[in-house]
Amino acid sequence: MSFFVDVLVGGLLSGVMYSLVALGFVLIYKTSGVLNFAQGAMVLFAALTFVSLTEHKLPFAVSLLVTLAIMVALGWLIERFVLKPLVNQSSITLFMATLGLSYVIEGAAQLLWGTEVHGLDLGIPDTPMQFGSVAISEFDLVAALIAATMVAALTLFFRTTRTGLAFRAVADDQLAAIAVGLRLSHVWAIAWALAGVVALVAGLLWGARLGVQFSLSTVVLKALPVLVLGGFDSIAGAIVGGLLIGAIEKSAEVYIGPFVGGGTEGWIAYVVALGFLLVRPAGLFGQRELVRA
């Protein structure tokens, strides 16, 4: 039993990391209906920028603030110069634009900061801590706390501030939003800037875990099954989806892996997502499209 709990907790904690990446997608998808494939590239860009700044002997806090400013600016620029000119285009066009964008950002990161792999030490030890019979890595715990704080802050922002209300309004009905005089591009710019901030947090945590390297941008691929499970337009969905995928991955590795020769972590999430698409295409928390017969 305690072994199972061990596996489950480990899975949930790694799931939090997936949630973090998925969150960036949700912010943009919810407000503008764009599936931002460049989110992974933004994660990489943020991590690489931060690491390079610290390697240039900038203090931790300064590097963090500078990277934060760069990510906000990057998000804003993308909205202004890539998405805004494409407004009213079909969603596949917008998706292709973000796909192209992901290569541009990766290329820019390479040009700016070079191609070697960087280690990233956030100063959080990766040592296991004993809770009763369950061992949890301190790093995982801190990562989960950071993610939880971020989600709480975003939720509070959406629920209580006027800008948050405008966000929900734009996500709810764009025509109505225009009718009351909301400037959509303004709301979208803020969504992209926020996605930049989320990318920074995800980049630091993932970078510390895997090392800052170009494969970091492929974490988007892990966010996709999370979004399929949770729904592309739900923050709660991104969290629950991430936790579920994490837990499923870890338990599959332990309980199914031995029978199929291991390596389940590479595909199980996608199989689950595929099954989910058949049963509940909008995801657990997604808005179900009502279509008149």
Binding site: R162, D172, I178, A179, G181
Partner: protein
Amino acid sequence: MSAERALLELRGIELSFGGVRALSSVDLTVREGDIHAIIGPNGAGKSSLLNVISGLYRPLAGTIAFAGKDYTHVPVSALAHLGIARTFQNLALFAGMSVRDNIVMGRAAFARSNFAENVLGLPRSRSDERESARRAEEIMDFLGLHAKGDRKVATLPYGLQKRVELGRALIAGPRLLLLDEPMAGMTAGEKLEMCRFIVEAKAEFHTTVVLIEHDIGVVMDLSDRVAVLDYGRKIADGPPDLIRADQKVIDAYIGVDHDERLVEAAV
């Protein structure tokens, strides 16, 4: 025109979609403080005209003068600041949000605080929010929506949703209120209520109203002036009594011409 001054003046408005003429040299003068109805058969161009006034359509030719200033096209985002608010024929509400939040959104264009003040909850942002909340309560009282403040709009009956949309337009304190079929799909009782709200809104908020409506009985009782469109042209404009007696209007409405054409087409 009478002693009262014109709030809105359209001159020579032309609009077409592809090769289809939607509006042909339409003039319209709306006096401050009037309820001015636009009526006409289906496809006469009523909604098009409203969309021109509210900036959703850009006319091919013609000018729009509002409160003494000339525009060829009013950008939708500037509308609220000019003092123009509108409702839509098929509702444009935030269906997933509460009645209160929907109404508050009507003030979206008037915030004095910026994004940063907002996130940090600085005083100017908080006073914006208090002001909006206070006005939303007033509007809900006025429209009898108080008990429904926390309900999701999507869960309300159609007649109440129409009322919420009116509330969202009123909270902006508009000088000109554009209502696109505010009573469409309502029961007789709901129509009466809506009429009362429109008349009271005019009195209480000093709002000039331009409305499109199909129910001729309602229009004649409610309006100070009535303009009649047919095939994109204005064929009559004046006080309800004159309109009622106008032969062109009777033809267009009872459909002498149209019916004959229909019969010919059928044969």
